[in-house]
């Protein structure tokens, strides 16, 4: 169950399991990292790469083949997916009262998120982009 703790000491007291406390801590740690990673992502796309003018397949190939951007995007993908999906789990736990419906919604959400993550990971690590097809 999601926790409503507002402080670390309270969270430690309310956590129903070590795993739940670990998720609570993960949300804070990944949150801080994501502030910098996401704002860095927005800044590089919008300002450095000037996205609407320079974004095309050739530019994508350059980014997708660069080891630095591969790593940056992969960290960003994993942290944001885990942070977002755990957040969705809190929301589902809070607003869906029926245990049966809740379980099905979680199965669907987790399956969808898993497939998207696999697709994104293949795009980053498992694909050789031909410079101009």
């Amino acid at each position: 169950m999601a926790m409503r703790a507002r402080q670390f000491e309270e969270a430690k007291r309310l956590a129903t399991s070590n795993l739940e406390l670990a998720w609570w801590i993960f949300m804070r740690v990944s949150g801080v990292l994501l502030v910098f990673l996401v704002l860095g992502h927005l800044y590089t796309r919008a300002v450095v790469f000037n996205f609407h003018h320079e974004l095309n397949y050739a530019h994508m190939v350059k980014v997708m083949n660069s080891p630095v951007w591969k790593f940056y995007n992969w960290v960003l993908l994993f942290l944001s997916i885990l942070h977002g999906t755990n957040g969705l789990r809190y929301v589902i736990d809070d607003y869906i009262a029926s245990g049966r419906v809740r379980a099905w919604v979680k199965v669907l959400v987790y399956t969808f998120v898993f497939l998207v993550t696999v697709f994104g990971t293949i795009a980053l690590w498992g694909w050789r982009y031909q410079p101009m097809g």
Binding site: A5, R6, Q7, F8, A11, R28, G31, V32, L34, V35, V38, L39, L42, A46, V47, N50, F51, H52, H53, L55, N56, Y57, A58, M60, V61, M64, L77, S80, I81, G84, T85, G87, L88, V91, F112, V113, V116, T117, F119, G120, I122, A123, W127, Y129, Q130, M132, G133
Partner: protein, 119 residues
Amino acid sequence: MYRGREGQWAFYLHRISGVAIILFLTLHVTEISSSMFGPKWFNALLAFEANPIFGLGLVAVAALVLYHALNGLRIILMDFTSWGVKYQRQLWYGVWVLYVIVGFPMLFAMLGHVFGGGE
């Protein structure tokens, strides 16, 4: 603790923005990863997304992301300092001050991209 007041709004906005962001994230990862399908597909997709409606959508997502980021930092201060909960309302006003300071340059940079700006 803060029913019906600023803290409640901070909480609801955090939830709503969070849900919207994860929805966008799955779309965004799928869209970008589809560059695997090659230049013909991907350039056609980009041409489709050049419509200002998508650009305005990006501005909206960026606005939600900025709120979620700043209010998330407020939550962390509430969680890990002795004074954060006591001053949560003042912290929320601080969130909006930073929102305007960081958000306005972002807004103008993005709107410039959306509506041409030297295409």
